[in-house]
Symmetry: C2
């Protein structure tokens, strides 16, 4: 008897936005097997993870990653949320007894909110524009910062619900004027599309290896301006080589080695970002013909898209299996990624899908809608 | 071009204590390939990781793990240190502005110290007995607790330097009498040897998947008594399904799936713990014949052992390559795990080694010593 379980979705076309950017590259698949044992990289450790020269972790963390993220100092974390918490906790640690605040966009991921709660920060949400585009107005940051004792601002680029790309440059300008550092949550950007922290005017950036950098999870990246390194990466008093906010060490094993293995692939794929946006727009345009309407920014600038579909919702009211009909119909066609039970509102991603796969998904939606509307007409 | 690197130590006999308990089982090797893609388990997530029914993560976290750890409530974390920090941070969050203290054994791992620093706790170290056994006297906890404002005690079972197993039952009794909860850092115990939190009288326990549970890293386990669950696993105000100290989610991918895959193997191997202790004692006895003297508890009760070796140190003063001679000689014999440059003091582990491998390592030490002492005599 063993504890092995099959991953039943592995042969599907997966359009879950969580999955499309985290599929391993071929090199990462090899790294997985090579570096699978627990603490595999620690065989080569001189005392801290980022100082390992062979395999070239030092070079990755101190040379390649800062250049890629457009920042001064970078580290590998256990995920984007762990990076956000390290930054928030580091920033707020100077104000232990005062209830300070962090400002973030209303579209922020739940983990940004939870990281702030854990760090003891009050959260102020900058509202979005509401239906149908849910866009962020940079001026909202100005108002939120003025009304409170704010030590950090966060913007989600893009957010994980609508795939909107807010105007970070404008937000950064406002924050800089008010003396508040800006953290860019780029979990859906870093590894998918070009993004440079300093060019956008931000002070911190986090990305996700398992979400968007073709790595085994959990693993993330974190970048910052030099001036914040002493605070966020402060060393232990007793163990002077160990960084306190990283608990001395983070991704010690297969996660960092798949991240490094996929890095050349990732650097090369972001150059084709224009094609990914084209594919997303094409998909959006095609399914709108059947009454599946894309919300969020239009024309859209990211592979993550949110849809509203009255037609699928209406079908679900009468279909066998009720609201689960869509999940089942897609599953039959080996398409995975829309959560069971959703029909009226759902998100998906076209990232990395081949042209034929996109056509196949579009045709599947058309076929499903046509099947159920015909049945209804015949009744 | 890709970013794949070879793991040059993979065909060695690895006696690094960090490595011997983290080697993947066959089932875990299969899980690695099956669940390698980034967020692979999230295809099956109804909202929180511990609620995934298929694969049986729910059953693992809520049934198997509490039973295995001998606790009421368990969670999977990103590592033992992350569990320690979650517990310390949770416990200290009620005392935000007061400088409280945590008491821990002088043999504690650096990450226990760093976790306390991160949580804003003052650290009080209970001294050990010093050379040659470095044992912990439970009474030391009593004194440390009396002299300070202590909110948590921690004991390392066994410690990662000498492999000593302190008398947790006595320490727990003292802590209970004084109203201080006790955290058991069992990163070198859980998955290697039988250990049950409540039987030992502790309130919290942490273990390490990559260190001692035959898993890909980083991943860990955390257990506690029911009465602490509300504090440590408190939910987010805005996102009521998400646990704040876990940032909403932890080991979302290959790490938890290798942990689960190896679990039957791990449950079965701890039954053979007596044999592992026998092997360690045999090794210790044999190498002492050549002047490699085991420090720490004697007779020893764990596979992790610390040695003092004047003879190897003396050789290093004259040998070609100086203090690196031992590393090189062992490397030639495909034995890995003693850090380059160490000769006088070093630790190693015999865990999981086959009888022939243990003999081979013993003979290698004998051969190396004999080679260099003969050379010296001939000069």
């Amino acid at each position: 008897m063993d504890g092995f379980y099959e991953r039943t979705t592995k042969d599907s076309i997966n359009i879950d936005p969580l999955q499309t950017g985290g599929k391993l590259s071929e090199a990462a698949r090899r790294a997985l097997v090579e570096w699978g044992d627990g603490y595999s990289v620690c065989d080569f450790c001189p005392g801290t993870l980022d100082q390992i020269k062979t395999p070239p972790i030092y070079n990755f963390i101190h040379e390649e990653l800062p250049e890629f993220l457009g920042c001064d100092v970078a580290r590998v974390t256990n995920g984007a949320r762990e990076g956000k918490f390290a930054i928030m906790h580091g920033v707020s640690s100077s104000y232990k007894c005062e209830k300070k605040a962090v400002v973030m966009d209303a579209n922020a991921h739940y983990s940004s909110y939870v990281a702030a709660e854990r760090a003891g920060l009050k959260v102020l949400l900058v509202p979005n524009s509401g239906y149908p585009e849910y866009k962020m107005d940079p001026e909202g940051y100005s108002e939120a910062i003025d009304s409170n004792d704010v030590v950090l601002a966060l913007v989600t680029y893009p957010d994980g619900n609508y795939g909107n790309l807010p105007d970070v440059r404008k937000i950064a300008k406002i924050c800089r004027k008010k003396g508040v550092p800006l953290l860019l949550n780029a979990a859906y950007a870093v590894g998918r599309m070009p993004v440079k922290m300093k060019e956008l005017g931000a002070d911190f950036i986090v990305g996700s290896g398992h979400k968007s950098m073709a790595s085994a999870g959990p693993v993330g990246v974190m970048g910052m301006k030099e001036e914040f390194a002493d605070l966020i990466l402060r060393k232990s008093e007793r163990h002077p080589a160990k960084e306190v906010e990283l608990l001395g060490c983070t991704a010690r094993g297969v996660t960092i080695m798949t991240l490094i293995a996929s890095f050349p692939h990732v650097k090369s794929r972001i150059k084709k970002w224009g094609k990914e946006v084209e594919k997303a727009r094409y998909f959006s345009k095609q399914v709108e013909r059947f009454g599946i309407i894309q919300l969020g920014e239009k024309p859209h600038n990211h592979d993550l898209m949110f849809f509203e579909s009255e037609i699928l919702y209406n079908i679900s009211k009468k279909a066998k299996g009720g609201r689960f009909f869509l999940y089942r119909e897609l599953k039959k066609r080996r398409i995975h990624g829309i959560k069971p039970g959703l029909t009226r509102y759902f998100k998906l991603s076209t990232y990395g899908l081949r042209k034929e796969e996109i056509e196949y998904v579009i045709n599947s939606f058309e076929e499903i809608i046509s099947k159920y509307t015909k049945t209804a007409e015949n009744n």
